[in-house]
């Protein structure tokens, strides 16, 4: 595994020609071999390149995918507050190395991102980052679930959605208020769905395995119930609901039904939920301790089916970097979450494309075009005139996950030591190469 080099964004435009790549653009359903010309930060030609285009840098993309830059809807950047776990610099470098040209920054920072000043701080700190950072505002002050945060002021400062991140809003009337007030500004509400009275101190999925491992269990029904509650409220209020990190068959079934009923709900899952099950925790592997926890094979299969039929719209990393000491020692005290920005694409290619569940086009749709639609930002397209946000991917490269080569400070990968297929070779942000392996 080669670490590659990050270049900070300087708006220093060069003419770039990407030749002979497999151009995959879900926004136009284009999937064909061809070239892309970039000038002044924009895509100026796709397919056949005008004879008079002169490139300062030519990239031979033969055998590689050329796709719109990916957008990750669920990233915990940790700055401000826990810069020992991740900074905006290290997190955006990890994003660029993972093929992402955009990330949604969850508001569970310290202090919580719940005001215009804190949104502005994140925007300011990420101005030269190798990846666009879209801050999400906390739905409630300090994420305490008690008072509404100032959605309007946060929106004007640069927030793109409001979120209850890392933990659910428990009070049902408060969720209704959040949804109604989000509607006032046409902001989507990103919900973490978990009935914490049921999940309690659960350290893994509740099952016969949790019983044998002697760990307190978090039952799948704790997620199902809160998904049902949020969907009912979305139907009632008409708000745009986005459900983060779906892990259960029960949740998938309800989201599918809600979509059939025309309720405005979108949903994401993360690669660990379609790759692993609770069995993969055996030996008390703390890097696979997640919230929601890894579930069972029937859930994993349901997640894959839901990605195939579109019930799950998006794959997001739920990138949750932690220090080594936070992920070792007593298993039930270890923090939840995995560092995911640098493995999300490859894990998805490995589990979904290589095994024939999703075409490359449908995978990129779930990693780029649809997330851009949900966040209502530009991107997710390779059409002429759009910003040149592009990832170039070798879809056949097999590489071992060596977390010491991560750009992220979080070494806590659920895939550590595994072999994954598919490697990001270049990431181009607004016409500038920001990552080259």
């Amino acid at each position: 595994m080669k670490k590659g080099t990050i270049f900070s964004y300087t708006a220093d435009f060069k003419n770039i020609l990407i030749e002979n790549g497999r151009i995959i653009d879900p926004s136009t359903n284009r999937d064909e071999t061809g070239s892309i010309a970039i000038a002044d930060g924009k895509i100026v030609a796709v397919g056949t390149i005008p004879a008079d285009f002169s490139a300062e840098r030519t990239i031979d993309a033969k055998g590689n995918w050329v796709v719109p830059g990916l957008l990750d809807l669920n990233v915990h950047l940790r700055e401000p507050g826990r810069e020992d776990k991740e900074t905006i610099d290290s997190g955006t470098a990890a994003a660029a190395a993972g093929g992402f040209t955009g990330i949604a920054a969850m508001p569970d920072t310290d202090p919580v991102t719940d005001s215009q000043a804190k949104i502005r701080y994140i925007c300011y700190r990420s101005e030269k980052s190798p990846c666009r950072v879209y801050p999400l505002g906390a739905a409630t002050v300090r994420l305490a679930g008690e008072e509404l945060a100032p959605f309007g002021e946060m929106l004007e400062a640069g927030a793109h959605a409001v979120a209850g991140s890392g933990k659910p809003v428990t009070h049902t009337a408060m969720i209704k208020n959040i949804m109604n007030y989000a509607r006032n500004f046409d902001l989507p509400y990103f919900a973490h769905c978990e009935d914490t009275m049921l999940s309690g101190k659960g350290a893994m999925n509740e099952s016969s395995l949790s019983s044998w491992m002697g760990l307190p269990g978090s039952p799948s029904v704790a997620e199902d119930i809160d998904v049902a509650r949020n969907i009912a409220l979305a139907a009632y209020t008409g708000a745009k609901l986005h459900i983060t990190h779906v892990s259960t068959k029960g949740a998938v079934d309800q989201i599918r039904l809600a979509k059939q009923q025309g309720i405005a709900v979108t949903a994401e899952t993360a690669p660990h939920y379609f790759t692993y099950t609770e069995e993969d925790l055996q030996g008390y592997i703390a890097n696979r301790k997640l919230n929601p926890p890894l579930r069972q094979e029937a859930d994993r299969q349901a997640i894959i089916e839901a990605l195939v039929d579109g019930t799950l719209d998006v794959i997001a990393s739920d990138h949750s970097p932690h220090t080594i000491e936070d992920k070792s020692g007593e298993f039930d005290h270890c923090r939840n979450g995995a560092s995911g920005l640098e493995t999300t694409l490859a894990a998805s290619i490995t589990a979904l494309v290589k095994l024939g569940h999703l075409s490359p086009m449908e995978l990129i749709r779930r990693l780029s075009t649809t997330p851009c639609d949900i966040l209502a930002v530009n991107g997710g397209t390779l059409s002429v005139g759009s910003s040149a946000d592009i990832a170039i991917i070798d879809p056949e490269k097999v590489w071992p996950v060596d977390t010491m080569q991560f750009h992220s400070k979080g070494r806590n990968s659920a895939f550590a030591g595994e072999s994954l297929t598919g490697e990001v070779l270049f990431t181009i942000l607004n016409g500038q190469i920001v990552f080259e392996r």
């Binding site: 509740e206 099952s207 016969s208 949790s210 019983s211 044998w212 491992m213 002697g214 760990l215 307190p216 269990g217 039952p219 030996g283 008390y284 000491e325 070792s328 020692g329 007593e330 298993f331 039930d332 005290h333």
Partner: protein
């Protein structure tokens, strides 16, 4: 003689040969404990750390006694809570102790998986003295030793384990070990004190006390952990006692030769009436005596001592 296992983390993956070797050795040490001079030199020069992160009287004293009987040097480290409340990581604590040159660690901790974790951060031999709700293998071994001593065999015997199965590491270790030894295990508890998913546990499960105990060779009671009753898992001590407590009348439902066991501590008047706990069919104090012999056997076989 040596075992296939290098550490005793639980009985889940311990073979029948290893369990038999430990029980045979424990029988031998039981004889030693009946001699005038009860100490043997087998582990002289070895240092064993008793690393107890959870309150324990019986198990800690039993291990310390076993270590002294084997001439090992015990070192006691007791604290309560977790590394989080202590302010030093578990890895740092164990590596600091290991740096003082120790050979074996006996560990008790409230978090499942800690003994396994310790094998990843030290070269010392690890013996699990109870981790969370996971396993308590020496307890199950001493239970099997006691049963074999009284009934002459293990294979084919019917065992009913009655009580708070949900929170019991003793039940789990016994279920694994007894299955391996060819015993017929039935777990009995109210549904709220059973694990949520019992279908793949590989043992029989019932909520009816009568079904569990009527033809059992051994009835093992576990105490309902009253301190854990924060979520209303049963309504009252009285109702628990009515359905799952063993008194004279319930004992009459059992076979005349059935053994009564309890890993302690007993909630007298809850799961076991005093008259039953102290009757001639109760082997509860034999379990305690055999605990020392069993732990001597485990320390000896894993410690590479010479006999």
């Amino acid at each position: 003689m040596s075992l296939q296992i290098k550490h005793l983390l639980g009985l889940k993956d311990v073979s029948r040969e290893d369990i038999t070797a430990i029980l045979d050795s424990a029988d031998h040490f039981a004889e030693v404990l009946n001699r005038d001079i009860k100490t043997v030199p087998t582990l002289r020069g070895k240092t064993v750390v008793n690393f107890f992160y959870e309150n324990s009287t019986r198990t800690r004293i039993s291990f310390e006694m076993a270590e002294k009987r084997l001439s090992a040097s015990p070192l006691n480290f007791s604290t309560s809570g977790s590394s989080v409340s202590k302010g030093e990581t578990l890895r740092d604590t164990i590596q600091n102790i290991e740096a003082m040159k120790i050979d074996m660690v006996v560990v008790r901790h409230g978090s499942a998986g800690v003994p396994k974790f310790l094998t990843e951060c030290t070269d010392a031999t690890i013996i699990n003295a109870g981790d969370g709700y996971h396993e308590h293998p020496t307890q199950a071994l001493l239970d099997m030793m006691t049963i074999r001593q009284r009934l002459g065999k293990l294979e084919g015997l019917k065992v009913a384990i009655v009580g708070d199965i949900l929170h019991s590491r003793v039940a789990r270790s016994n279920a694994w070990g007894m299955k391996t030894m060819g015993m017929d295990v039935t777990l009995c508890a109210p549904t709220t004190l059973l694990p949520q998913h019992t279908e793949s546990l590989g043992v029989k499960v019932t909520t009816k006390l009568n079904d569990a105990i009527s033809d059992a060779d051994v009835v093992m009671l576990l105490r309902p952990q009253l301190e854990r009753q924060t979520h209303g898992l049963f309504p009252s001590v009285r109702e628990y006692r009515t359905y799952y407590g063993i008194d004279r009348d319930k004992m009459n439902l059992m076979r005349d030769d059935a053994l009564i066991m309890h890993p302690g501590p007993i909630n007298r008047g809850v799961e076991l009436e005093s008259e039953v706990a102290d009757c001639e069919r109760s082997v509860i104090l034999d379990q305690v005596t055999n605990g020392v012999a069993t732990r001597m056997a485990v320390l000896y076989l894993l410690g590479g001592g010479e006999q």
